[in-house]
């Protein structure tokens, strides 16, 4: 399994990231401990220069990470072809105990890196550079999360046994499965959909009333509710099958890769929404979130128009 070219590529880049990440980490520790902008000593000047290196490394890692994540999803799909029983990425994720953690870690890290960069850009805009110490201090735990992702990625891929059959999303995402997913099925669908649209309207209202913190919190809620409602309700309209709940299958060619659009819209929207706690990104967030709502709703509407009934 490890000798699959796609997996090897991911691991090679992980290695490069780890190398530079460690450099950034060491610098972050130094800066966090000794930074003093008012000092005119040689060591402070050196530290200022090193701050540039650290932030450049972090920018680089983030810049590559985002398209690499898409590539990662692609790779999961490709491995699904070789794994007996897997029909889409869901099967691969489930093939190893590490799978779901890796996926969550990756998404989490992208959010976190994006936050860090936002913090960085705002820091550099001010003459006092007020957040420098904070941002490098914050990078320290981020680094550990980041290394965790790399290590888990290595373990997950070496764990996959091509000779072992895996469950397809059909069994994973069904009422009868014994996993955490089955809990979701207990939730009433009408309630869920209502919650989804309700949260969206609440976000809109909080924007009109300029309530920053409420807006941010609602975005966090919206992210989770969207994913759950996507699996439970909207996904079935994309597949036009009431039992197909897989959140991965619509990333495939058969559905025009719409999955990528859906997730990108959702992530960009909610990320900007959460960032509204410090910055004015209301409009961006609303724009992307609205597009997301329109997109998933359109599948339901189109289905209804075509067939006259709902699933």
């Amino acid at each position: 399994m490890l000798l699959n070219p796609e997996v090897l590529t991911l691991l090679i880049l992980d290695f490069v990231f780890a190398f530079f990440g460690i450099i950034a980490f060491i610098l972050s520790v130094k800066i966090f401990l000794k930074w003093d902008l008012s000092s005119t000593s040689e060591s402070q000047y050196r530290l200022e220069k090193q701050a540039f290196l650290a932030s450049t490394i972090i920018k680089y890692i983030f810049l590559i990470k985002v398209p690499l994540f898409l590539f990662f999803v692609f790779t999961l799909d490709k491995i699904a072809d070789v794994l007996v029983g897997a029909m889409c990425g869901a099967g691969v994720v489930d093939a190893s105990g590490y799978g779901i953690y890796l996926l969550l870690l990756k998404i989490l890290n992208i959010y976190i890196f994006a936050f860090w960069l936002t913090l960085h850009f705002n820091d550099m805009k001010k003459e006092q550079q007020p957040y420098t110490r904070l941002k490098f201090g914050v990078f320290i735990p981020i680094f550990f999360l980041f290394m965790a992702e790399l290590i888990v990625e290595y373990f997950m891929f070496s764990d996959i046994d091509i000779h072992q059959m895996v469950d397809c999303c059909g069994t994973l995402y069904s009422n009868s499965s014994a996993s955490y997913i089955s809990v979701l099925f207990k939730i009433n669908t009408v309630f869920l959909v209502g919650l989804f649209y309700g949260t969206y309207i609440a976000m809109f209202l909080s924007y009109l009333y300029k309530k920053r913190y409420i807006f941010s919190v609602l975005n966090v809620l919206f992210l989770f509710i969207s994913i759950v409602s996507l699996i439970m309700f909207f996904g079935t309209y994309i597949y036009e099958l009431p039992t197909h709940h897989c959140p991965f299958c619509f990333l495939q060619k058969d559905y025009n890769y719409v999955g990528y659009l859906i997730y990108v819209l959702l992530f960009v929207g909610t990320f900007n929404g959460i960032v509204c706690m410090f910055l004015d990104r209301f409009k961006t967030s609303l724009y992307f979130n609205s597009l997301y709502v329109v997109l998933v709703s359109s599948y339901v509407v189109v289905y209804y128009l075509k067939n006259g009934v709902l699933l």
Binding site: P5, T9, F52, I64, K283, Y287
Partner: protein, 410 residues
């Protein structure tokens, strides 16, 4: 309201774009690259060479996989073989009847075939036995059987593939061929004709004859067969049927077409994986070269950066410019490397390189590498080249950007 929102967003995106992309800077970067012609040309060539090799390997393996997939599609869904002590033995032909009784099974045929080693030239022929009135398990065979009679009152006739005909002619066997039986005696079989089957990879070394002739050549009992192929009406049922056969006959090995596909894919991935491992080493070396070249700045270049900083360029501006330089060089090499690979593999048909993957033998079928364009492969090569090059330039660029400008003034 939504419309206003859209307009606003397009406007902000436009501003953000201009914030992020500085055309003047890009132009300066291109100019800077051209001003240092020799060094940059050297790096460009090596890098293009690396991406070229890598892309070629992937293009070739993709094409072979594709061709193989086509071949495998025409292979039987389930093959049943008898094994004893881990080796394959002749199977009882009447197991076919039992299998036909399993629900979901469309057809089951006992196959009689084998490899014949032609010592003179050192090649293996694949001998396939057919029964004229039996439904063939492969359409291509069906066509062949309809063409000629394979058994005459007096003599045995066979049909041969192109490659076989050529091999036999080389040994002056033009109208017939003498097979050497296990007991040393000869079996003369007349060449009735030459066929071209559907796919090139498999038919080149094939000989079609009647089952009786074949049994004769290999000294196989009339009640035995080489293996049994099973056709299942619903492809999704294949694993279930395979399981049932296995349960009924514990000493048989049941291979499904999926198993075959997976094992072939793994062989290919293994081979390209090995290649990739070698590539890593060269990439590492290249990393060192790039780092070295990028760090070694001439006094002239240091001065130039010093001037820029003195006239108001920030460290971030210099970093950005250096980034543009490395991105342009690496991306350009990537495009060149992929394009060259494209020409090399699909137009020139990859001389020398394809032998590593196709296998080298005299009966190597002459086939054309089909054109397979895979976005994933392009992305794969991209991620293996561009980000690594850029990472090699991070530290040198930073060193340059943080030079003390006041030394320039002296």
């Amino acid at each position: 309201m939504l419309f206003q929102l859209m307009l606003y967003l397009i406007h902000t995106m436009e501003i953000k774009m201009r914030d992020k992309i500085n055309l003047y800077l890009i132009e300066y970067a291109i100019n800077a690259i051209l001003r240092d012609k020799y060094k940059n040309f050297f790096i460009l060539s090596i890098f293009t060479m690396l991406t070229f090799l890598l892309s070629s390997v992937f293009f070739i393996t993709n094409s072979i996989k594709y061709e193989l997939d086509l071949t495998l599609d025409s292979l039987p869904q389930i093959i049943v073989q008898k094994t004893k002590a881990g080796r394959v033995y002749d199977i009882d032909a009447d197991i076919v009847d039992d299998i036909l009784n399993i629900s979901g099974v469309n057809n089951a045929v006992a196959r009689v075939w084998g490899y014949y080693y032609f010592e003179n030239i050192g090649v293996n022929f694949t001998l396939v036995g057919v029964e004229e009135f039996e439904k063939q398990y492969k359409n291509s065979l069906e066509k062949i059987v309809q063409k000629t009679t394979l058994e005459d009152a007096n003599r045995s006739i066979m049909l041969v593939g192109r490659g076989v005909k050529d091999m036999m002619s080389k040994s002056y066997y033009d109208k017939y061929f003498n097979f050497i039986k296990p007991d040393g005696s000869l079996k003369k079989v007349f060449i009735g004709g030459v066929f071209d089957a559907d796919t090139q990879l498999e038919s080149n070394d094939m000989i079609v004859m009647s089952k009786d002739t074949l049994r004769d050549i290999f000294d196989m009992d009339a009640s035995k067969a080489t293996d049994i192929v099973v056709e299942v009406s619903n492809p999704k049922e294949i694993p279930t049927v395979a399981l049932k056969i296995k349960q009924k006959y514990p000493d048989v090995r049941v291979i499904t077409n999926d198993d075959l596909r997976v094992s072939y894919e793994n062989i290919f991935d293994y081979k390209s994986g090995v290649f990739l491992a070698l590539f890593i080493i060269s990439l590492f070396t290249f990393f060192m070269i790039v780092y070295d070249k990028a760090s070694g700045l001439s006094g002239e270049q240091k001065k130039e950066i010093g001037i820029l900083k003195a006239i108001g360029w920030r460290v971030d501006d210099v970093l950005k410019e250096k980034f543009y330089e490395s991105f342009i060089i690496s991306f350009f090499s990537y495009l060149l490397g992929v394009s060259f690979a494209f020409v090399f593999v699909y137009i020139l048909q990859a001389p020398w390189l394809r032998d590593i993957f196709v296998g080298y033998s005299d009966l190597k079928p002459v086939f054309e590498l089909p054109f397979v364009l895979d976005i994933e492969t392009l992305l794969l090569v991209f991620f293996l080249s561009v980000p690594i090059y850029i990472s090699a330039t991070i530290i040198p660029s930073w060193r340059v950007a943080t030079l003390e400008a006041d030394e320039v003034i002296r």
